[in-house]
């Protein structure tokens, strides 16, 4: 094109050039922004969302970063993430070791939320799933060392359900009992009171976001004892009765050894309570 272009053509060219420039320039910013947003999509381990928070991905899109939950928390435990925090800027969280959720019965933080970020259907604070407590440090947990600290168990708002103390033999001393704190995920609300109250320098029990703390069995796994209960009896064919090859006229019993068979007993055949019968009745073998 050696001749000067028609004014319309020039205008169109300028328009196309400008459009391309904007689309590419702003598009690059968009790519950077998108990648940055994806990076900050996961919740750091120490940050726990308020009660009723949706799963992280939905939460970060439903939350409009207004801070109303922060304002209506009567214990001032919630913070809004600052730009340097490794999570979505302006979203609420608390750090259990600093200040745990006090489990208000009225759940004012959810009531204050203008969006679905905090699930308004949650009415009972004991049903909250903010996170899950995990006894991470068996080496430093005082109960594991054989002491009766029990603090995490005592402060738990869902005492005897979320944390129980399971007695186990202290093999070190040989004649003491260790009371092992065990967290039960179906009852733990993730409030973080256990972590806050743990008296060791670094908490032996910590609350983590559910996705970090909770394991899951493969879908095809079945618990034999549960299935057995559902079926009302053993699901496998009963084992055939075990027979010892003993010399004629002799029999073997565990713990007693060999003995001679009573002639009258020998005539009546097999003993009345053999393993087959037990299995058929659904008892443990």
């Amino acid at each position: 094109m050696s001749t000067s272009p028609h004014p319309d053509t020039a205008g169109r060219r300028r328009f196309i050039a400008e459009t391309a420039r904007m689309a590419c320039g702003v598009g690059m910013i968009g790519v950077g922004l998108g990648l940055y947003a994806r990076h900050a999509a996961a919740l750091p381990p120490a940050a726990i969302r308020p009660p009723g928070a949706l799963p992280e991905e939905q939460f970060s899109s439903a939350c409009i970063r207004c801070g109303l939950c922060v304002r209506d928390c009567p214990y001032d435990i919630l913070h809004l993430a600052k730009p340097q925090d490794p999570m979505a800027t302006g979203t609420p969280y608390f750090v259990a070791r600093q200040a745990p959720c006090e489990m208000c019965e009225t759940i004012p933080c959810i009531k204050a939320c203008p969006t679905a970020a905090l699930d308004h259907a949650l009415k009972e604070i004991n049903k909250a799933k903010m996170g899950l407590a995990v006894l991470v440090a068996q080496e430093t947990c005082l109960n594991f060392l054989g002491l009766r600290c029990d603090i995490c168990y005592r402060v738990c708002p869902v005492i005897d359900k979320a944390i129980t103390l399971d007695p186990q033999t202290n093999v070190r001393t040989g004649h003491h009992t260790m009371f092992i704190p065990v967290v039960h995920s179906e009852h733990c609300t993730g409030c973080g009171k256990c972590e806050k109250s743990c008296p060791t320098e670094v908490a032996a029990i910590k609350v983590f976001p559910l996705y970090m703390a909770k394991g899951q069995l493969s879908a095809h796994y079945r618990l034999g004892w549960v299935e057995k209960e559902k079926a009302g009896g053993s699901l496998v064919a009963p084992d055939i009765e075990h027979r010892y090859h003993t010399p004629e006229g002799m029999r073997y019993e565990y713990g007693k050894g060999l003995s001679t068979v009573n002639p009258s007993e020998a005539a009546s055949g097999a003993p009345a309570q053999g393993p087959t019968v037990k299995a058929l009745k659904g008892d443990k073998l």
Binding site: V26, S61, R65, C66, P83
Partner: protein, 304 residues
């Protein structure tokens, strides 16, 4: 025009006095700082008139106000808000449909204080021009932020948005948010004149779309009295909106209809000839007064 930077509004100050030549600027600062003060009264003084921030706030337990742009992003990423947030966004949309969408930029947004600060320093240092950036960039930014929201399923722009970052930061703690605000300030000061608010900000772009057909408009009831001092151009953050209405380009009426006008009223302040006044989209404002009826008819006559 002299090469030395002339003090903008000097004539107006001489003519009307300092106070009258700064009336709208003072009112605007009172509005901006007043809104900030009401938000800060809670955390600083325990006086809870309003809770929250510009993204969503709840005043005296009755009035919800929500930023429709932020709420739109939330909805685009697949989440429906509760009734209060929808009501709050509705109130805000209707309000800015009436008073001009970008009145938010001039009268509410805290970043405007930063941008005006940069602008003031620019004027004092005699810094002019800078990199060229089309004013339409903001609409591209708006489209980009909404697209990224859809693609990532998260409020991506809210991680960087200087508007919510500054306001939320002042009320809830700034952290490293200062870096972004300083960046905006330096961008305005050295890179592009009126760069952030006038070229880039997608929030402003969104409000300009809301206010396209707004009622409250800048009138030029005495445009024929203009003595071409250029002070209004120098002081206007969106000076490109003035010319059509002032110079009757293509027979334009003496009303600024461009959606980029932020309704700040600084043109009224700096004009020694009282060319400008607030008015509605259709009629004349009361400010214009009876004595200005004549010039308007003159101006129209001149055009036709």
């Amino acid at each position: 025009m002299s090469t030395l930077p002339r003090k903008i509004g000097a004539e107006a100050i001489a003519e009307k006095g300092w106070l009258a030549a700064h009336k709208w600027l003072i009112l605007r600062r009172v509005s901006q700082l007043g809104i900030l003060a009401v938000f800060l009264a809670g955390p600083l003084l325990g006086l809870w008139i309003v809770k929250g921030n510009l993204n969503y706030s709840y005043t005296l337990g009755v009035l919800p106000l929500a930023d429709p742009y932020v709420l739109l992003q939330s909805m685009l990423s697949g989440m429906l808000p509760e009734v209060l947030a929808i009501a709050g966004a509705g109130i805000v949309v209707v309000f800015y449909m009436l008073v001009g969408g970008r009145a938010y930029c001039a009268w509410v947004c805290p970043v405007n204080l930063v941008a005006d600060g940069a602008s003031l320093i620019r004027r004092h240092l005699g810094l002019r021009g800078g990199a060229h950036l089309p004013r339409t960039t903001r609409y591209w930014m708006l489209a980009m932020t909404l697209t990224v929201t859809v693609l990532t399923g998260t409020l991506a722009w809210e991680m960087l948005n200087p508007v919510s970052m500054l306001h939320r930061g002042l009320i809830f703690g700034m952290g490293m948010g200062w870096v972004v605000i300083v960046a905006v300030f330096l961008f305005d000061l050295f890179v592009v004149e009126r760069g952030w608010c006038g070229h880039v900000c997608p929030t402003g772009a969104f409000y300009s779309l809301i206010g396209r057909a707004s009622m409250l408009r800048m009138h030029l009831p005495r445009r024929d009295a203009c003595n071409n001092c250029m002070d209004c151009y120098a002081v206007c953050p969106e000076y490109q909106v003035i010319k059509p209405a002032l110079k009757a380009v293509d027979g334009a009426p003496p009303v600024i209809l461009d959606a980029q006008c932020v309704n700040c009223g600084r043109c009224i302040d700096v004009c020694s000839k009282d060319v400008f006044a607030f008015g509605t989209r259709f009629g004349l404002s009361r400010n214009a007064g009876a004595q200005s009826q004549q010039p308007i008819e003159d101006a129209r006559g001149g055009v036709s």
